[in-house]
Every structure is written in C-alpha cells, then in structure tokens.
Subunit: 211 residues, 2 copies
C-alpha cells in the first residue's frame, strides 16, 4: 500500500520517528570517521553528512550539528584548521558506530572504541590506522545554515592514503576493493555490490557498461 | 602498495583523472533524479550530491554546478520554487544515468530517457512514476559556495510517497526493500547488503544489533 506523507503530518510526527524517517529518506550516505586533535587530546567521530563539492580545487563538505556530540569535532577543527576523513570498512562498523556515544572531552574515542590513532607525513590531525582510505583536510570555510542551526564545513584535501591497486587507470577508486561501507538512517550500515559503470552520457547514444 | 597523494600532485594531475579520483574518494553517495518544470517543459536530471540537513524542519541539501548540464534544473527551481527527488532502483540505472546527457532546453529527459512523468497531489513539479520513493520539495534557500562556484540548494520536504511496508515501526526506511541504489564516482552504481542496525551508542555500553 502506498503511503502519502504531507508536510502537515511531518510537523506533528513523534520526534524520534520523524528523525529516523527523514534521516533514511535521502538514500544511502557517505559515512566517515572524522579525526581531530586539540591541546594534545585526540577526538574521533562518525559523520554521515559528507558531500563532494568539487575536484579542482579538491573540496569536501560536511554538515555539523554544533549542539550535539559533534561539537568537539567542530571546535577542534575551528581551533586548529586540520582534520581527517577515514573510510569505514565492514570489520570496523561497531567501533565506528560507538564513536557516536557522548564521551567526555578528556576521553579519546580512539581508545574508548578500540581504534588506533596514527600520524602520517607530519599531518596535524590523527588518521585511523585501521581505515583503508584516509584523507587529510585543511579547513577552508564554514557556512552557517540559519534555517536549522547547522554548519557546512568545507575542507580542501591535503593528502590521501590508499592502496594503489584500488585506483583504476582512469582515476576511479573501487570502493568495494577498499571494503568501504555506506549507511542509511541513523544506525544502519551496508556493504555494496557493483551494478556497473556506464559510459559518459550523450544525447544520441544509450549508455554502455564500461566496468 | 600504499599510494600517498599530496595536494601538490593533485594540483598537477590530468583533470579527468583527478575528477574521477576525487569524485569517488568521498565514499558512496546518495543519488536521486531531480524533477522540475518551467513554462510547461519538464526536466529530469541525476544528482549525486544530496545531503541530509535535518529532520525538523525536514531539510535536504543538494550541490548544484550552474556551469554544467545541471543549470536547467537550477534555473527551473529558482523560477518556480518546487522540485522533486526520486530514488533510483536497480532496474532504472541506465535510464537515470542517461539523464546526465546534455539534452536541449526544449527536450524533456523523461521522454528521451524512457521514464514517466507523473503529477501527484497537485504538486507543481513532476515525479518519476517508476521511482519507489518520491519526495516533493519547496526551495527554502540557496547558498553560493564562492570557493568553486557551486551552490547549496536547500529544500523543505512537502510530501513523501513510498510503500508503507518499507517503513519500520520506528520510522526507519528499509532502502533495500525499496530497491534504492547508491553510486560512487561519476558513473558507478551499486546495490547494497545490510550489515546491521546498531543500538543508540552510550559511553558505558558496546552497541548491539537491533536489526
């Protein structure tokens, strides 16, 4: 049976039900562990609101809710300007999910959740040793979204670490080779199966499989 | 072998290689067909830069590149204020990918790509009949990202259409039941396998499977 949900019924919906519904409605999400550091204390937090902004310059966006457990991450990024994004592989899902618990400022989620802090190539912020794709970013800009009090944090990619064999001849990264997971809603994780890569679309030609 | 890519090597990388690399680096993406209309002409375009902004009010963000094939979508949203997001199921992947071809203003991607325009509950913008999850949005705000000339388009959810059986008792939508696909990079589509849903994380308790 088809369900039709209006703006009016969303407005009066029980708030946890609405949060679960709207969080899963947008489809599968990019999910990463964000590593930061401030005054010698490391922090690690899971974020599922990561969005590709552009390749040149290489920019990544991330939505932050500063009134939530995410505030430590945000404060550390503002204070020091550097952070890391680390892909989550299927063996790390429980540890990654656990980083969303409300740990105290003085506790490091690395230690509490069983993940290993790693420093690479003199980058200020910690990477996750267990991650198979690691990205170091420099803060470029923040944009306040006044409509709901969230913030778009924009970072420029400074360094990338991943297995060479997962990068194709055309630059495409095989995210199944890196065992990267995706998520839906607030708490569900998924691995993927490739349906296919398709040729660059042109008006006079139907797309064909290229991988 | 581990590959280490620096900002310097990204800056001098062949531009198509860099686009493929950076587009796939952020992980799996939410991908939807965006339906718009202007002066009686419908338009349909695939977008993979959709990001959940918040549940109350129910806001969805989308990054638009106005110097690309996406400009028709953007112009229509600005002109009329309403648009739709339609999930892509595995049987629609080729048609959905084909909407990224540079069709002329007077051509409708619905017709050219073999998808069916559908109007529901007096909503101005067209839905995709074949989609199993359909969302009607009203434009709330645009935010220019001057760093690379893109725009964050923010919409508020006005209506949702989906099968009632895919919504769980707690509001979570089973995106495998709706056959929703995810994408990576510029041209790769994937179906998913659930690894698990995990309990709300608390500092003193390890997460357990809830689904």
């Amino acid at each position: 049976m088809e369900k039709f949900i209006t703006a009016g019924s969303l407005a009066i919906m029980e708030h946890r039900f609405r949060a679960a519904l709207i969080n899963s409605l947008g489809g599968f999400k990019s999910v990463c562990l964000v590593g930061t550091k401030h005054e010698g204390k490391s922090n690690l937090a899971i974020f599922s609101s990561i969005v590709h902004l552009g390749a040149n310059p290489p920019l990544v966006g991330m939505i932050v809710r500063p009134d939530s457990v995410e505030r430590h991450t945000y404060e550390n990024i503002l204070a020091n300007g550097f952070y890391t994004l680390n892909h989550i592989s299927s063996a790390m899902v429980e540890q990654a999910h656990q980083t969303s618990a409300r740990y105290k400022r003085e506790e490091s989620e690395f230690e509490c959740c069983g993940l290993t802090e790693e420093y690479r190539n003199e980058f200020f912020a910690p990477f996750v040793k267990e991650s198979k794709v690691k990205i170091g970013l420099m803060l470029r800009e923040t944009k306040a979204i006044e409509l709901n009090g969230t913030i778009l944090v924009i970072g420029e990619i400074q360094q990338i670490h991943l297995n060479e064999s997962s990068i194709g001849a055309d630059g495409f990264i095989d995210l199944e080779a890196t065992d990267t997971v995706t998520c839906s809603g607030l708490d569900c994780y998924h691995s993927t199966i490739r349906l296919g890569r398709y040729s660059y679309a042109k008006p006079d030609k139907w797309p064909s499989r290229i991988g």
